[in-house]
């Protein structure tokens, strides 16, 4: 087994001598003997790095991964986790050990690298959302949603939260889990066309937050103007869950009047990774900055007058404010934020637009091709963009299982979060700039075979 501890037996005995001890066991004298573990842990003996590699290969072979050039599944699954291009340059830069093995930048004088990268990340998120303030990351889209709702509720002193069913069902579930602690009351707005219908919600009593996706989980473009009107009517802050990949082609949520824009930024350089680590982004209007959850990096000067960066307005944070903090978040997803800054630098203005456009173009083509298959039809009527849900002649989960054998991850079979709605059992497909015409044609052929079998 490898040994990552440098101490030789001689080192240990001379250090123990210095401490006046005769064995390492004595180091634990403060621990009552009654509770000390009197046996070894029942964990296998350590193995060598080489043996671990073989074990990883063996276990990994039991997974079906997507997107590898020339092997793996062709990916049509999305729902907040997308198969976008990650270039070698992003991997190389984000993988630098200075970024990977640093701690939270508590000593700014030796952490300008991470701090400046986070400052640039915040600047990118500001532009993408259209808002002036962005924090330096949260765990994932669901965590960003929870924090957004907490902020809105605190700001508006009202625990009623109206949320569109078009927000990611897992995120809605996380929100509900945490609402058990905060006591927020959640109310669901339905999606008759695929887009949210606010009219059926009681607008006479106030709400703290109104939450909507853009595009939403079913891939539909929501009318945010209506959402804004509804939020104003109930006196709530408008929280928009944005798919940031569409920012290059869509009007920004801020332009539509959003107060808080959050979302999942995995799409910008982070691997699919079976769901994590991902990256929750969070942006808001300036007035809300003192309630901002998580870390915020600001520009300043050093004593010699040079530009420098530092985490700022820390009085919001838990290590200072403790039980009165705006959030309990401490460790966040800094490395993913740095990755995103690099990836957005790589994409640039033109690339970001191109990725949005190409994804939409692929979805458009696929809609045309796939809905030609007998019994396959779109379940929504609201305008789609780069994702859409299909009704199939046989249950979507069976289709997904069957198509894995054909080399496709067909999409997400809608179930949890859509129980009892017309969307239950539909197949949600997502498109990125990596999907080719050939892949879509092959997929259509395979799907046709499976649904007509």
């Amino acid at each position: 087994m490898p040994d990552y501890v440098p101490h030789t037996p001689e080192d240990i005995s001379s250090m123990l001598d210095f401490l006046g001890l005769s064995s390492t066991a004595e180091l634990f004298a403060a621990i009552p003997a009654s509770i000390q573990l009197s046996r070894s842990l029942e964990i296998d003996a350590g193995i060598s790095e080489a043996d671990l590699s073989f074990e990883l290969a063996e276990i990994g072979a039991r997974n079906s991964s997507v997107g590898a050039p020339g092997s793996g599944l062709v990916c049509f699954a999305g729902g907040g986790a997308y198969d976008h291009e990650v270039p070698a340059v992003t991997r190389a830069l984000a993988g630098r050990s200075e970024f990977v093995t640093a701690y939270t930048p508590y000593q700014p004088e030796v952490a300008q690298g991470v701090l400046q990268a986070l400052f640039e990340y915040q600047s990118f998120i500001g532009r993408i959302t259209g808002l002036p303030i962005a924090n330096s990351s949260l765990y994932d889209g669901s965590a960003a949603l929870v924090e957004a709702v907490n902020l809105a509720v605190a700001e508006k002193h009202c625990q009623r939260v109206v949320i569109s069913r078009g927000v990611h069902p897992n995120w809605r579930e996380v929100l509900a889990t945490f609402a058990a602690g905060t006591g927020h009351q959640l109310e669901l707005a339905e999606l008759p066309t695929g887009a949210t219908d606010w009219s059926s919600i009681d607008a006479s009593s106030p709400a703290g937050a109104v939450v909507v996706g853009y595009p939403n989980f079913l891939g539909c473009l929501e009318d945010l103007a209506e959402a804004r009107i509804f939020a104003d009517r109930v006196g709530a802050l408008l929280v928009v869950c944005q798919d940031p990949v569409t920012a290059g082609i869509l009007k920004s949520p801020a332009e539509w009047g959003a107060d808080i824009v959050i979302g999942e930024a995995q799409a910008f350089g982070t691997a699919l990774s079976f769901g994590g680590p991902y990256l929750g982004f969070f942006a808001c209007r300036s007035e809300l900055v003192r309630r901002l959850p998580g870390r915020l990096v600001g520009e300043t000067l050093d004593l010699s007058g040079r530009r420098a960066y530092v985490t700022t307005l820390r009085a919001r944070e838990q290590d200072i404010r403790r039980e009165k903090a705006s959030s309990n978040v401490c460790t966040n997803e800094t490395l993913m934020a740095v990755t995103t800054a690099i990836q957005l630098g790589w994409l640039g203005t033109v690339g970001l637009r191109e990725v949005g456009l190409s994804s939409a173009r692929a979805a458009h083509y696929a809609r045309t091709v796939l809905t030609k298959i007998a019994g396959v039809e779109l379940v929504t009527t609201a305008p789609p963009l780069r994702e859409f849900a299909l009704r199939l002649p046989i249950p979507a989960n069976e289709v997904v299982e069957a198509l894995i054998g054909e080399g496709f991850l067909a999409g997400i079979s809608l179930a949890e979060g859509f129980e009892g709605t017309e969307y239950e059992g539909a197949l949600l497909l997502a498109f990125t700039e990596r999907r080719t015409r050939q892949e879509i044609d092959n997929f259509a052929a395979a799907l046709a075979r499976v649904v007509t079998k």
Partner: protein, 501 residues
């Protein structure tokens, strides 16, 4: 824009390298029909102005972020004795594990039948963490320690609620990490803070006073943030349980107890762990982490779902929802790649390796304490576990030297600073955690540096000159940073910057 390197100029932002028409990206050839914008996006949704983010060449992108990396300290560059952070060396093999396509390329919506490898890793990790902590089951979903805390508190709440027991308060010692009280609030409880006694441990008498039928539980860090083991833990556990409360173990710093003592055996009901500390996941400059929560048998049914488990049939793995699940606490299964690293780390070390981690982490910390206690105050003068808290209080009175100055001056010696001003109950605190991966030589060099700083301060004070440490650091990429200015004139994005060139 030039590209300053060896010089001491600061690095421009990426935005300042931007020039219209430059590009780094290239994408797959898709052969898709070129549909016009209007057919893709209804007019009202179309952007008016193009979204300008940046336009740089790949060359400038690489130069910029490589130079930024050279302005960043990291474990790979040197010792990082930040107390409570466990900045140990992280084996490179774990980075490779996390970059394997067979794991990193798996979509979270992949059906369990096609993700058996992942489910195996998650289940095995859960089992190993339960053995390490002495608990019955665990959720791997929480993405960091604080998320684990909140999850734990919601489990506590669900447990009491299921018994129809409405409790409103959670007890926390004054030495606790800030996330504890913040999580308690989000968990819907009120915080009751209790003090530490002269030993630096929970004041048992005070605890007895505040315990009552409205107490949902207590959150303890053991060893606590002073690096001290709560010797009365068995008694405390009995008291809290007797009062109908649960015991929550903040296991952010599990390093010193691996294979030595287990929270479950101490009587705890809920334990969160920071895999990004103890289990050698690099900290990423502030994350990602992973904060699994392990629980005793009576809480298992409340765990978040979906939960990877061994298949009921005996072969393979499946996802289940515990019967009284509090629900999801993460979009998917948690920070899976961090979990894979921790799994790898435990496999590499094995039982003996983990115990060795604990022994040496504690040995290093005690050696440091013993080597510095003549020059720095040692407020609770007892042997410590994995870290020691010293105080600059006497030196400050004698010379004006503050903990902050020590931290800044130490940077000039090539070390990262310890944690300062925490725990809050120690004046001018220096919280030093060497970890087990720093050699005796490195630990000794750190001691020499800290002794030098104290002695310099005495000499300067005697000579009546300004303390050297107050104007440090000077050999770092920037000198001491003006934190007040950052807050006063908030510049949170490049667009808000006044430094347009």
């Amino acid at each position: 824009m030039s590209a300053p390197l060896m010089g001491d100029a600061s690095e421009p932002t990426l935005f300042e390298f931007s020039s219209p028409g430059r590009r780094a990206f290239s994408l797959r050839t898709t052969d898709l029909p070129d549909v016009p914008m209007d057919a893709l996006v209804p007019r009202p949704h179309q952007r008016g102005e193009p979204l300008e983010i940046v336009e740089v060449s790949e060359r400038d992108l690489v130069g910029h972020f490589t130079r930024l990396a050279h302005r960043q300290y990291s474990v790979d560059l040197g010792a990082y004795p930040l107390g409570s952070c466990t900045m140990k060396y992280n084996p490179k093999i774990c980075d490779e594990a996390a970059s394997l396509r067979a794991f990193a390329g798996v979509h979270p919506a992949t059906p369990p039948s096609a993700a058996q490898g992942w489910l195996q890793v998650l289940v095995e990790l859960e089992e190993m963490l339960c053995e390490i902590t002495g608990m019955a089951a665990a959720t791997l979903q929480p993405a960091a320690g604080a998320a684990g805390e909140l999850t734990g508190l919601l489990l506590m709440r669900a447990y009491h609620a299921a018994k129809g027991d409405h409790r409103t308060r959670v007890i926390i010692p004054d030495s606790a990490h800030g996330t504890n009280p913040a999580s308690v609030t989000l968990g819907g409880y009120e915080v009751t803070t209790i003090g530490s006694d002269e030993r630096g441990c929970v004041d048992v008498a005070q605890l007895r006073e505040v315990l009552g039928p409205d107490v949902a539980g207590i959150m303890l860090t053991n060893p606590n943030t002073l690096g001290l083991f709560e010797e009365d833990i068995v008694e405390i556990a009995a008291m809290v349980h007797a009062a109908g409360g649960l015991l929550y173990y903040d296991g952010a710093n599990l390093n010193p107890i691996l294979g030595v003592v287990r929270p479950g055996d101490m009587g705890f009901d809920i334990v969160h762990m920071n895999l990004h500390k103890t289990f050698a996941t690099p900290h990423g400059g502030g994350g990602p982490g992973a904060g699994p929560v392990a629980v005793s048998q009576r809480l298992v049914d409340f765990l978040p779902g979906p939960r990877p488990v061994r298949a009921s049939g005996g072969v393979g793995f499946e996802l289940v929802r515990p019967p009284a699940s509090i629900g999801r606490v993460h979009s998917y299964f948690g920070n899976s790649l961090v979990l894979l690293r921790a799994w790898s780390y435990i496999k590499l070390n094995g039982a003996e390796g983990l115990r060795r981690v604990a022994e040496i982490a504690v040995l290093n910390a005690n050696w440091i304490r013993a080597s510095l206690r003549d020059l720095y105050d040692s407020p609770y003068d007892r042997p410590v576990m994995h870290e020691c808290v010293l105080s600059v209080a006497s030196l400050k009175r004698a010379t004006g030297l503050r903990a902050l100055d020590v931290a800044k001056r130490l940077l000039e010696f090539g070390f990262h600073s310890p944690t300062v001003y925490f725990p809050l109950i120690v004046e001018e605190a220096l919280m030093i955690e060497p970890t087990e991966t720093e050699s005796p030589e490195t630990v000794a060099a750190l001691v020499v540096a800290l002794r030098t700083i104290a002695e310099e301060a005495r000499a300067d004070a005697l000579a009546g000159v300004a303390l050297r440490a107050v104007s440090s650091p000077r050999t770092t990429p920037v000198e001491r940073v003006d934190e007040a200015r950052a807050a006063r004139q908030l510049v949170p994005t490049f667009d808000a910057s006044s430094y347009h060139h």
